[in-house]
């Protein structure tokens, strides 16, 4: 399935709801979305991955790139993910220690930083 992206604002956070497959074919679209948000001055991002069906290391690369971009503006990038099969690649790569990972968008928005 192809990538779907929806963004909305919750307080001072921008939530990006990602669906479908994030891979070498679709990752550029996600990257451009993140770049556009940062250029528009949105430095506190919550990436909701609950509807992601597939994520590979190319997708991780885009998330890491996004984290670097928002941090350059003292911003934050948090993830929402409870799917075991998606969490697995974050664990394997040690990125669970790099990204704040929350169980729901509400938790991610409530969290500081």
């Amino acid at each position: 399935m192809d990538l779907s992206l929806e963004t909305r604002t919750e307080g001072d956070r921008t939530v990006i709801e990602v669906g479908g497959e994030v891979d070498v074919y679709t990752a550029p679209t996600l990257r451009e979305q993140i770049i556009a948000l940062v250029e528009a001055g949105q430095y506190h991002l919550v990436v909701d991955m609950e509807r992601v069906e597939f994520l590979d290391s190319t997708g991780l690369g885009v998330l890491v790139g996004g984290l670097k971009r928002v941090r350059a503006h003292d911003g934050s990038l948090a993830l929402v993910c409870t799917q075991e099969r998606i969490l697995k690649i974050f664990r394997i790569t040690g990125l669970t220690k790099v990204f704040p990972i929350h169980g729901s968008v509400a938790d991610a928005v409530a969290a500081t930083g």
Binding site: E21, D23, V24, Y25, A27, R31, F54, D56, S57, T58, L60, G61, V62, V64, G65, L67, K68, R69, R71, A72, R85, K88, I89, I92, T93, G94, L95, K97, V98
Partner: protein, 155 residues
């Protein structure tokens, strides 16, 4: 009886990595790989194919990448073969690749380094972290990643 083998040769384009995943998972399921391993097959074959496509695009964009899928009876094997003759420096060992990844990710104020390319070796580290039975053969003429999973017949 011929051994059931499917070979997929594809132009080094991102879209075709999806075809590689689709075919690998479909054949793995039919070969009797356990359902809870199919996500692993999808991700590992996808990583290996993405890596091969990326290497070809640097070195030999007109040449196809090969994915060979075989049902040996007790195992299902997936072999991704690239012929990139100008390989990037020998891949970092997995632990080092992942340490570099964590480090770059944590850099709060990167200078100009905002590109999303992962440190070399992360793709192989992911495959190694996922798949128990994997062999990587890298040489000056290309690289082969061979992965195997047990089938119901082999359990």
């Amino acid at each position: 009886m011929p051994v059931p083998t499917v070979e997929l040769r594809f132009t080094a384009l991102p879209a075709h990595v999806r075809t590689a995943r689709l075919v690998a998972v479909s054949l793995a399921r039919r070969a009797g790989v356990a359902d809870d391993l199919l996500d692993e097959v999808r991700l590992a074959v996808g990583e290996a194919a993405t890596r091969a496509v990326s290497r070809h695009r640097t070195s030999c964009p007109a040449e196809p990448v090969l994915l060979r899928l075989t049902d040996t009876g007790d195992h299902f094997t997936a072999e991704v073969v690239d012929v990139a003759r100008d390989p990037s420096p020998a891949a970092a060992p997995p632990a080092l690749a992942l340490a570099t990844l964590a480090e770059t990710a944590e850099q709060a104020h990167p200078d100009a380094d905002l590109d999303e390319s992962l440190p070399p070796g992360v793709d192989l580290a992911v495959i190694g972290g996922l798949v128990e039975d994997v062999q990587v053969a890298a040489g000056p003429g290309g690289c082969t990643v061979l992965m195997a999973w047990p089938t119901s017949a082999g359990r």
